[in-house]
């Protein structure tokens, strides 16, 4: 049975009387051309000195001048290398394997460089762990070319030489050796064997060194629980591919939970194979990316999550526990328990609660189940932060017992909830040195600002997971006079070695032989044979005591079950897929990246449930130009208030809870355009992501740049087809993947069989198709950034996004649907009778669904569908868009005159118009207006100018390159060689690209799948992009 759910993108759509929805449905481009603005003002017109004749004179003159100027082209210079490096051929890309390890993201990647400059980041498919680059990692190449980067070391804000810095620091360090004051190193998590060894040597040399690791967003609870149980400060690893049942209590494991990197395994388990797929139940407060993908999502305030977790443990254990749960939840828990008991060792339970008891119980449950997906043997080292040490350091600083403070990769003045105490402390430190790529809140306070390398300019190594090593190699020489901490430490230790030599020695001595070094560097990753782990490179501050027996589970359960919330609402602080902990807040790609759930870009906000919003008087409204406005709120936690937090009414938000993203609100050293959102770190009290907060309305309305109401699909047809696993397994695909019918000669026939046009024979040569599996897509958005990087998609800024002028060629539409009442809704909808009245459809759709409760969510990546019968092609007056034999809908920018007929006629709304010149234009001060930012531009793709339409080209530059490579080698193209930027970026396997005329290819097989359908089949556009019906494992529980 096909799903006939009515999808909606915003609850406003459900209000049939809302004029804005109607306006948006009618008008493709939201704003009218403001003719009245300059012609309507008669006074102004009559006052002006320019009369009609003058105007004509100007026109004549400028035309003549322009044509005269066109007679002579500019002289272009061409400057070849004096000595060309052997491995660089102009026009040919080189790839280097490296690792992004910035303290928040740890990912093995390939970096594409052209003429020596990195231009794109791709997944390292050789990596067994964390080989999938997320949106932030994809975008980090742009941070390398940030024009606000520090260009050299500073002392008290004034530029100095490195030698002066060295002298001063060395003198200070030597003086401190005997003074009794400590030398403190406050750093990010490195997870680096060589850095750990180096810091140990540094300690040995100066004696009084105190190394404190600090994570802006802490995993203290999980680390402590793991340490208590297994004796090592690390994080358990999970392989969700092996799990049949996944139960999560507030763990957003598809984004940044415990270092992230779990989505590709999850997705593999979500694609139905042999009638089986994993079942995912999520208990959470905020609507997270993970909850959006769950089969069953239970909105639950954090307090109840704890109680529920305690109940789950008790039920699995066969014991009882106190604590009340909201109605409905115990039933769900019972079903979950039954499910877990059925699957036993293929079930896994995770939690994102910072509470150490919760983490302890989760470890105990997974241990008890013997879960296959749970791995405590080879844990992950991607979070090392220790709150106790951080707090101790701050009190030492305030006590004046810290002589020197060296910071790297951290911005405590911004990220610490108790930044004021830190500020007080740093005043009392004799010498503070901050390594940073940018001027920020902390460098402002430090005596010496050491300009640091970007990750892509640095050497390094990582041990992301026990035994899984990665190498960081520079892909470009330092752009500025910068230095990485490790090189500085070597310098200060009086060593003449570079950090590169140091790593090589460490690896050669402890990990591998000389012969393997080059191979490891080439691969970027190295997996040690089990047991070959050397003790010397173990993280030195690991406490090796046997403590597993001392963990008191029952006490933990009791404490959880008795959890209570404080006054007011429960606030859950989280990190956004696009912004993480905020270290890349100056990155315009990430700022413009819309949040997968709220579809808001350039902002953070507080998320409130509809019920609470009504009680508190918060509103969200769409104004005439389609922009979203929201009320402001004042948030108070523990006496600390932040004002003017914009409010988003978030469907699915557990009532009594609110949510807010960290990582926004950076101010110091940022371009004014990038100073977006409000800083939520002051509310991150005690590094606990759950706080009890009070929220009240304040005056004024905030203007959001939301893509939510933009490019609506006009309510046409089944856009996302969806079914349940049971129906998928038992019924014929004609029932759950219904092909729409149209009337032909008064007979209903499948729409796919009717053709208005003659079809071309596409069986010769290549015929490209793209497959998008809605089951595998988690909506993470890595493809969106990858697409922008590959195709030079410009950033347009908050105001332009608000005017629906975003330029993303690939967007991920997020649709809400209703749950549980599905069958009833269906019956009700079928029973609609007439327009008005009790069963009228006019008001019916509004009644049909209850938006405020708990909608199901579906993600759908939409790019140009490359229709074989493309409506855009037939309406272009200048034939600027045409079709190729290989199936690509081609766009000749130089031919386009900007009528925008194509955009109007596109049923998928994927065409983008260049309203302005986005490059070399200081009005758009992002990356395309400065020489540094322009270095990221892909030279194989035209940078578009004002007044032309652009859209997804199906990466024709990449398919053409694959073809040319094969021609040059004189060989047939292998399956998998054809790739687009998005298909390469998708580590989840949701996007597959290839040639369907190659009958043995993966894409040809996917096209024959029962789940395959085209978007808006009844329009008859015959797209070359197809989707796979989303199957939910939701018939039970």
């Amino acid at each position: 049975m096909a799903s006939n759910k009515k999808y909606w993108k915003n609850e406003v759509e459900l209000n049939p009387n809302d004029s804005i929805v109607e306006t948006l449905r009618q008008n493709e481009f939201v704003e009218e051309i403001p003719v009245d603005e300059f012609l309507g003002d008669k006074d102004n017109l009559s006052e002006t000195n320019t009369n009609r004749r003058d105007f004509l004179k100007y026109v004549g003159f400028s035309t003549a001048a322009a044509s005269l100027a066109a007679c002579e082209g500019p002289v272009r210079k061409s400057i070849p290398y004096v000595v060309q490096p052997e491995n660089i051929i102009p026009g040919v890309a080189n790839y280097y394997a490296t690792t992004i390890a910035n303290g928040f993201d740890f990912t093995s990647v390939l970096v594409k460089t052209r003429e020596g400059r990195p231009i794109k980041i791709e997944n390292n498919t050789d990596a067994k762990v964390n080989g999938g680059a997320n949106a932030r990692v994809q975008a980090s190449v742009l941070s390398l070319y940030d024009s606000t980067r520090l260009q050299g070391p500073l002392k008290d804000g004034e530029p100095v030489e490195w030698s002066a810095v060295d002298d001063e620091v060395k003198a200070k360090l030597n003086a401190l050796k005997t003074s009794g004051k400590q030398i403190a190193l406050l750093t990010q998590t490195y997870a680096s064997p060589s850095t750990a060894k180096l810091i140990a040597e540094f300690k040995e040399m100066y004696g009084v060194v105190n190394h404190v690791t600090y994570d802006a967003i802490s995993e203290e609870g999980a680390l402590s629980a793991f340490e208590a149980k297994y004796g090592e400060r690390a994080l358990a690893d999970y392989d969700f591919e092996k799990a049949e049942v996944i139960v999560s209590f507030g763990a957003d494991f598809l984004s940044d939970w415990q270092g992230g990197g779990y989505d590709s395994g999850y997705s593999k388990g979500r694609v139905p194979k042999n009638g089986k797929m994993s079942k995912h139940v999520q208990f959470e407060a905020n609507m997270s990316l993970t909850g959006a993908n769950a089969d069953k999502r239970v909105p639950l305030a954090p307090m109840f999550q704890k109680v529920a977790l305690a109940h789950l443990y008790a039920k699995l254990n066969g014991t009882g526990v106190s604590g009340d749960l909201p109605t409905g939840v115990p039933e769900v828990l019972d079903a979950v328990v039954a499910e877990i008991k059925k699957n036993k060792n293929s079930a896994v339970v995770v939690t994102g609660l910072a509470d150490v008891n919760a983490q302890t119980i989760v470890l105990a449950i997974n241990e008890m189940l013997g879960s296959k997906a749970f791995d405590a043997e080879a844990p992950k080292y991607v979070r090392q932060g220790n709150i106790e040490n951080v707090n101790a350091l701050i009190s030492d600083m305030r006590a004046g017992s810290v002589g020197a403070l060296i910071m790297d990769g951290v911005n405590p003045m911004y990220t610490l909830p108790n930044a004021a105490e830190f500020a007080e402390g740093i005043e009392k430190v004799d010498l503070s040195v901050a390594f940073s790529t940018n001027w920020n809140e902390t460098t402002e306070m430090a005596n010496i600002t050491a300009a640091a390398n970007h990750n892509l300019e640095s050497w390094g190594d990582t041990e992301i997971k026990k035994g899984h090593y990665g190498l960081i190699q520079p892909t470009i020489k330092e752009l500025f006079d910068t230095r990485q901490l490790q090189n500085a430490l070597l310098q200060w230790m009086g060593s003449d070695k570079s950090y590169y030599d140091y790593i090589k020695e460490t690896w050669s001595a402890d990990l591998l032989g000389e012969s393997e070094w080059n191979q490891a560097l080439h691969d970027g990753v190295y997996v040690a044979a089990s047991g070959a782990l050397s003790e010397e490179i173990e993280i030195t501050d690991v406490d090796e005591s046997e403590t597993s027996s001392t963990v008191d589970i029952s006490a933990a359960v009791r404490s959880l079950a008795n959890a209570t919330s404080g006054e007011g609402m429960e606030l859950t602080l989280y990190s956004k897929v696009g912004m993480g902990d905020g270290q890349q807040a100056g990155n315009p790609w990430l700022q413009e990246f819309p949040d997968p759930i709220s579809r808001v870009s350039w902002d953070n906000y507080v998320m409130v449930s509809k019920k609470d919003a009504e009680n508190l008087g918060f509103i969200n409204e769409n104004v005439a130009n389609g922009g979203l406005n929201g009320s402001y709120a004042r948030l108070t936690v523990n006496g600390i208030s932040i004002d003017n937090v914009p409010v988003i009414i978030q469907p699915g938000q557990a009532s009594g809870s609110i949510g807010m993203a960290l990582g926004y609100g950076r101010q110091v050293g940022m371009k004014s355009e990038m100073q977006t959102g409000v800083n939520a770190y002051p509310l991150y009290q005690g590094f606990n992501n759950v706080q009890s907060a009070t929220i009240e309305k304040s005056s004024g309305m905030h203007e959001f740049a939301s893509m939510q109401l933009h490019n609506t699909l006009m309510g046409r047809g089944d856009i996302i087809k969806e079914t349940s696993l049971e129906i998928f397994n038992t019924k014929n695909h004609a029932e759950w993947n219904v092909v729409p019918v149209v009337s032909l000669n008064h007979q209903e026939v499948p729409a796919t069989s009717v053709d208005l046009w003659d079809s071309f024979d596409r069986s010769i040569g290549h015929h490209f198709n793209m497959s998008i599996d809605l089951n595998a897509c988690t909506g993470c958005g890595a493809c969106v950034i990858a697409c922008g990087a590959e195709n030079n998609v410009p950033v347009v800024g908050k105001q332009e996004v608000r005017r629906s002028r975003d330029m993303h060629w690939l967007r991920i539409d997020r649709y809400y649907s209703s749950e549980d009442s599905f069958e009833e809704d269906n019956i009700k909808k079928d029973e609609f009778d007439g327009l008005s009245g009790g069963k009228g459809s006019l008001g019916g759709f509004g009644e049909l669904e209850h938006p405020a409760t708990n909608p199901q969510v579906a993600f759908q990546p939409i790019m140009c569908q490359h229709c074989n019968h493309a409506p855009c092609e037939t309406v272009c007056p200048v034939a600027a868009t045409s079709h190729g034999r290989q199936g690509q809908n081609q766009m000749a920018y130089n031919r386009c005159v900007g009528t925008r007929y194509c955009a109007n006629n596109c049923p998928y709304k994927v065409r983008r118009f260049n309203w302005f010149l986005y490059n070399n234009n200081d009005e758009f001060d992002y990356n395309m207006n400065n020489d540094l930012g322009k270095m990221v531009i892909n030279p194989d793709v035209t940078v578009r100018s004002r007044g032309v339409i652009e859209k997804c080209s199906m990466c024709i530059q990449k398919t053409q390159k694959s073809i040319l490579d094969a021609k040059r080698d004189g060989r047939v193209i292998k399956d998998g060689e054809f790739q687009t930027a998005c298909s390469m970026a998708c580590s989840n396997g949701a996007i597959v690209f290839g040639d369907i005329n190659d009958k043995k290819s993966e894409i040809a097989e996917l096209r024959e799948s029962d789940r395959m359908y085209h978007l808006l089949e009844h329009v008859g556009t015959k797209p070359n992009v197809f989707y796979h019906v989303k199957v939910r494992n939701s018939n039970e529980a």
Partner: protein, 455 residues
């Protein structure tokens, strides 16, 4: 800014000057023969054949040694006498050294080690195949007096004599022609006057027959409205035609010949010396860019070619007319040395480089993607097909219009080279069957689709 010269004009001028050149070239040959003979007459003496020695020297030694200057190895002019006078070493020492230099260094020979350390510790290649007689020949050549001044003198003579005379000859021809025309006009006037006199003598009244009733031609024309209309239309159409032609050539820089910072002559490199294009433009095989060679590629040869010696016959008349003397070219090589930071004295790089800012000749707009390797490596198109006879170009010029029509025409007419390329096997078989042809053109293969070049 841009200097655009038209090839047609150039070829006309060249054509005329060629005719003139032919007229005056007989004396030149005589000169060259004289120069050539002077080279051989020097050699007998020293117990070796200097002519043979020259061949051997060029084959074996010239890569590292010059006669007169330091290169990878020391200068070899009069090496034997120099060694015997300065170091007291005899020919036997040289035999051993040439046949096995590294052995000699190891044996601890004092002078051998001195030379070894002086020249960057690069041991000389051993030549065990050279017999003592061969070495004698080489030594005879090194001992021979150098013929170099003769070439310079020849060049000077050529410059002084023929160079000027060709300039004068043009003027002379024009003068002669002018005189001939003048004479013709004078004759016409005289004939007319004579005829008039005869008519007067015969009593014919010329003035009358000319008649005042006859309208002047222009007035008759002006009164004929039809004619006026037709002429106006014709003029307008012609004007429009030429205006259109003029407008359409805007931005098409066919014949664009910018002056480059270093006068690099493709004629000398690709023409006279027949260096393969792809030797220097190596990235043309794999990349979209043909690549301007980096200066280290130049230095592969120019480490040893430090001066221009021209053709064996010396520079041609045209070259001399343009000032392209050997000295001129040698000065350009020095510019290269300066750019690449090559110290000629010490034969090493100083590291002080000045990248050369070449002026780009072929300016394809950004909106079009062109890939050299596709055309050169896959399709096997000759460089000359688009770039013209580069091997004849003294200064690189834009030969083709580089317009889209020009691209498209070629794609319509050219067959895809499918032989031996497995990639094309299937598609060619199917497509040629579909179109009913043996050979597919690029257009039939899809080479006219917008997206193939514009993305």
């Amino acid at each position: 800014m841009k200097k655009v010269t038209y090839r047609n004009q150039i070829s006309k001028v060249l054509g005329i000057s060629l005719v003139v050149f032919m007229l005056f070239s007989i004396s030149l040959f005589a000169q060259d023969e004289a120069a050539a003979t002077s080279d051989v007459a020097v050699t007998e003496g020293f117990g070796g054949d200097a002519a043979k020695g020259k061949t051997l020297f060029n084959q074996n030694c010239a890569a590292c040694h010059s006669l007169t200057r330091k290169m990878t190895g020391p200068p070899l002019a009069n090496v034997e006498s120099r060694l015997s006078e300065d170091e007291g070493l005899d020919r036997e020492w040289l035999y051993t050294w040439i046949k096995n230099s590294s052995g000699m260094i190891k044996s601890g020979d004092a002078y051998a080690n001195k030379v070894y350390t002086e020249y960057a510790q690069a041991p000389m290649t051993a030549f065990p195949t050279l017999s003592n007689a061969d070495i004698d020949d080489i030594l005879a050549y090194t001992a021979a007096p150098r013929p170099a001044p003769v070439v310079a003198a020849g060049a000077q003579v050529a410059e002084g004599g023929e160079g000027k005379s060709s300039g004068i000859s043009n003027e002379m021809i024009l003068g002669a022609l002018a005189i001939v025309f003048g004479l013709l006009i004078m004759m016409l006037v005289l004939v007319q006057r004579t005829l008039k006199r005869i008519a007067a003598a015969n009593g014919v009244d010329l003035e009358k027959t000319k008649g005042e009733q006859r309208l002047p031609l222009w007035r008759a024309f002006a009164q004929n409205q039809f004619l006026v209309l037709v002429s106006v239309i014709f003029l307008l159409l012609a004007g429009a035609y030429f205006a259109y032609g003029w407008v359409m050539q805007i931005g098409i820089d066919q014949g664009y010949t910018p002056i480059q910072p270093i006068h690099y002559s493709h004629k000398i490199h690709a023409g006279d010396n027949k260096i393969e294009c792809k030797y220097c433009h190596s990235s043309v095989r794999v990349s979209r860019h043909s690549g301007i060679p980096s200066l280290n590629v130049c230095m592969n040869c120019h480490k040893s070619i430090y001066e221009y010696q021209g053709n064996p016959e010396g520079p041609s008349k045209e070259d001399l007319a343009n000032g392209y003397t050997n000295e001129f070219y040698t000065a350009e090589i020095k510019k290269l040395y300066k750019a690449v930071g090559w110290d000629e004295e010490d034969q090493k790089y100083t590291g002080n480089t000045q990248p050369v800012e070449w002026v780009q000749v072929h300016n394809l707009p950004d909106l079009v993607y062109f890939n050299h390797s596709q055309h050169v490596e896959v399709a096997g198109v000759e460089c000359q097909t688009c770039h013209g006879p580069v091997e004849e170009m003294e200064i690189m010029t834009q030969y083709s219009p580089l317009t889209m029509a020009w691209c498209v025409n070629c794609h319509r007419e050219t067959n895809v080279k499918v032989e031996g390329n497995e990639y094309y096997a299937k598609i060619h078989e199917e497509l040629s069957k579909k179109y009913g042809v043996d050979q597919l053109t690029v257009a039939q293969m899809g080479g006219l689709e917008c997206g193939k070049c514009h993305y």
